[in-house]
């Protein structure tokens, strides 16, 4: 640290320049992390928040838009409910609809049809909320569209109406659309394509509702992940004629999810590579410029380890300081991003991005300062230059 900190202070304008680049990269990394988390939340938070271990789709359903392709029935649900280690199995209906408020404001929703007395049903203020066929509980984020409890939402074209009876405590979205929980039978009624205008009635539902849903939602007796649950997926799929995926794997079935996350991941990866290259290039030039000074230090007996540590300390101080500054500015700017943009700053991804950037920057700097070990102290003597 003796030499490193003094050199940083003496050459502050030079180090400030590369520090600004590091800060900008950190800022971009934080913004991308926020965008990535925001897109993930916007795409699949409705699924993430379900107390579900796995989803059973109809056999052979492909990943893309699997929820709209898959059709399962009560027999398949029952087959899964009888499997060992399965604590509960419930039908879940998933469909995206366009609705309008009384003032004609459009409100797009992903309808999750759930049995009102099942583990999938949302609670409002700790109590089951879906008591009438026309009840719907919306994601907390739906409030931003101006919807209030008691509002009536009318499905486009068919005219069936749903009454908002509450909101969940958190963001529940799917495919960038707010989730609306409604009774499974009402979902089956709407999905039949024969639903009538106005509030759904028990009689109409009994007459026209389908008896199918999109998937069977499974909850394990032990373990939160499918791998840890002990559920025999192959046996269950054979018995129920389904294709089962872990909850995590079903995220890829959300519209656009894979494309969005892959794009953001690629941009982020490029940023990390750029950070490592920028730091590596800077310290390569810096080391070359100091070559004679380093040769003199080696000639007077400075151990190679001391000089390597010195170079890495400079890189570490630069990286930690300016990554923190960049990340801090990123967090500040993130707070200013308008509500409509899918953006969420979460501690773990931001901290992970910062640590990864510092680590890769150190790798770049480490490769650059390794040339210190190859500097011949003989070059310190005039006649050898």
């Amino acid at each position: 640290m003796f030499l490193a900190l003094r050199a940083l202070a003496f050459q502050r304008s030079r180090f400030l320049l590369v520090g600004l680049v590091i800060g900008l990269l950190a800022l971009l990394t934080v913004m991308l992390s926020g965008l990535s988390s925001g897109l993930v939340n916007d795409g699949v938070s409705g699924l993430k928040n379900l107390p579900v271990t796995a989803m059973a789709f109809s056999a052979g359903t492909k990943t893309d838009n699997a929820f709209s392709q898959s059709v399962v029935d009560e027999k398949q649900r029952a087959a899964w409910a009888g499997q060992p280690q399965v604590a509960d199995a419930q039908l879940l209906g998933v469909s995206i609809v366009n609705t309008r408020k009384a003032d004609a404001t459009p409100v797009d929703l992903t309808l999750f049809g759930v049995a009102p007395d099942s583990f999938l049903a949302p609670k409002v203020d700790g109590r089951p909320a879906l008591t009438e066929p026309g009840d719907v509980v919306l994601s907390a984020t739906a409030r931003k569209t101006g919807v209030r409890v008691g509002d009536v939402l009318t499905l486009d074209r068919v005219g069936t109406t749903l009454r908002v009876v509450g909101f969940t405590a958190q963001q529940d979205t799917f495919g960038h659309v707010d989730v609306g929980y409604l009774p499974l039978r009402t979902w089956q009624y709407i999905a039949s394509g024969r639903s009538a205008a106005g509030a759904p009635t028990a009689a109409a539902i009994a007459a026209d509702a389908l008896d199918t849903a999109s998937v069977v939602a499974l909850r394990s007796a032990a373990g939160s992940t499918l791998a840890a649950s002990g559920i025999d997926v192959a046996a269950g799929d054979q018995a129920a004629d389904t294709t089962t995926r872990s909850l995590q794997a079903t995220f890829a079935s959300s519209p656009g999810y894979t494309a969005e996350t892959t794009t953001i991941s690629m941009i982020t990866a490029f940023l990390y590579v750029i950070a490592a290259l920028v730091i590596g290039a800077f310290f390569t030039v810096w080391t070359v410029q100091r070559q004679h000074e380093l040769a003199v230090l080696r000639a007077v007996g400075a151990p190679t380890g001391f000089l390597l540590r010195d170079g890495l300390t400079q890189a570490a101080v630069l990286l930690v300081t300016f990554t923190a500054v960049g990340a801090g500015i990123g967090l500040g700017l993130g707070a200013l991003i308008p509500d409509g943009v899918p953006f969420a700053l979460e501690a773990a991804p931001v901290a992970g991005a910062a640590v990864l950037m510092i680590t890769l920057g150190l790798v770049g700097a480490g490769l650059a300062v390794l040339r210190i070990a190859r500097i011949d102290p003989l070059t310190a003597l005039g006649g050898q230059r």
């Binding site: 003094r6 003496f10 000074e293 003199v296 000639a299 007996g301 400075a302 001391f306 310190a380 003597l381």
Partner: protein, 238 residues
């Protein structure tokens, strides 16, 4: 083989506990493209503590090679070089670096100070490299070369002569057995050259260090106890 005589240094300066530099039959062969060049040819040299020996000679005569071998920067092809009784060739690369730190001081052309460090920190750095945590009297060390009043300046704020004075103080900060000086006046005017070499003589005697100075500057040789000439790798009495 050429043998140099060893005159007695200034009265009272000799330190019998130190043996200075002893080179015996030292040869150094270096590759130069397809050829092998004999940079040092059977050099014998003894420099006692408190003695300032100048080595002069044309470029390419082997003066820097002499410093390189004496300074444990390279190992001779044959012969032995000992400093303070230690055979330099027997030391590993790591121990050679440590030995340079402890027993050998270097004064380079133009001082070759670390640009980022103040004058005081140039000396503290050497102390720091040695891993010493005890107090180091930087002011006294700078007073000895007349630079205490510029302890907070950086190299670019000093004249060439001042940089060399700091370089001398840095080289002597570890109380070495051997001081190797490489063209100390190459960037100085005549008056400053005289000052610097007079200071070298004074510090050599007071610190009781064996000093070898390579130079092209014949105007400063009268300060030295002995002057040797190097030609084609061979060391001759002047």
């Amino acid at each position: 083989m050429t043998t140099s005589t060893v005159p007695t240094p200034a009265a009272g300066a000799a330190d019998t506990s130190r043996t200075g530099l002893v080179m015996s039959g030292v040869s150094l062969e270096l590759g130069d493209g397809d050829r092998i060049v004999r940079a040092l040819d059977s050099v014998d040299l003894v420099v006692r503590p408190g003695e300032l020996v100048a080595v002069v000679g044309p470029s390419g005569a082997g003066k820097s090679s002499l410093l390189a071998v004496a300074g444990a920067l390279t190992s001779p092809t044959s012969g032995t070089a000992t400093v303070h009784g230690h055979d330099l060739a027997s030391l590993s690369a790591r121990r050679r670096a440590r030995f340079r730190l402890e027993e050998i001081g270097f004064v380079f052309q133009s001082g070759n100070l670390v640009p980022a460090l103040t004058v005081a920190d140039q000396l503290r750095l050497v102390h720091h490299l040695r891993g010493r945590r005890d107090a180091f009297d930087v002011t006294r060390a700078l007073e000895q070369v007349g630079m205490a009043h510029k302890a907070d300046r950086r190299p670019h704020e000093l004249s060439g002569g001042e940089r060399q004075r700091v370089g001398i103080a840095r080289a002597l900060a570890t109380h070495p057995s051997l001081l190797l000086v490489d063209e100390p006046t190459s960037a100085l005017d005549r008056a400053r050259s005289q000052d610097v070499v007079a200071l070298l003589r004074e510090r050599t005697e007071r610190a009781s260090v064996a000093t070898v100075m390579v130079t092209h500057d014949h105007d400063v040789l009268h300060h030295c106890h002995r002057v040797l000439t190097m030609e084609d790798g061979r060391l001759l009495a002047a």
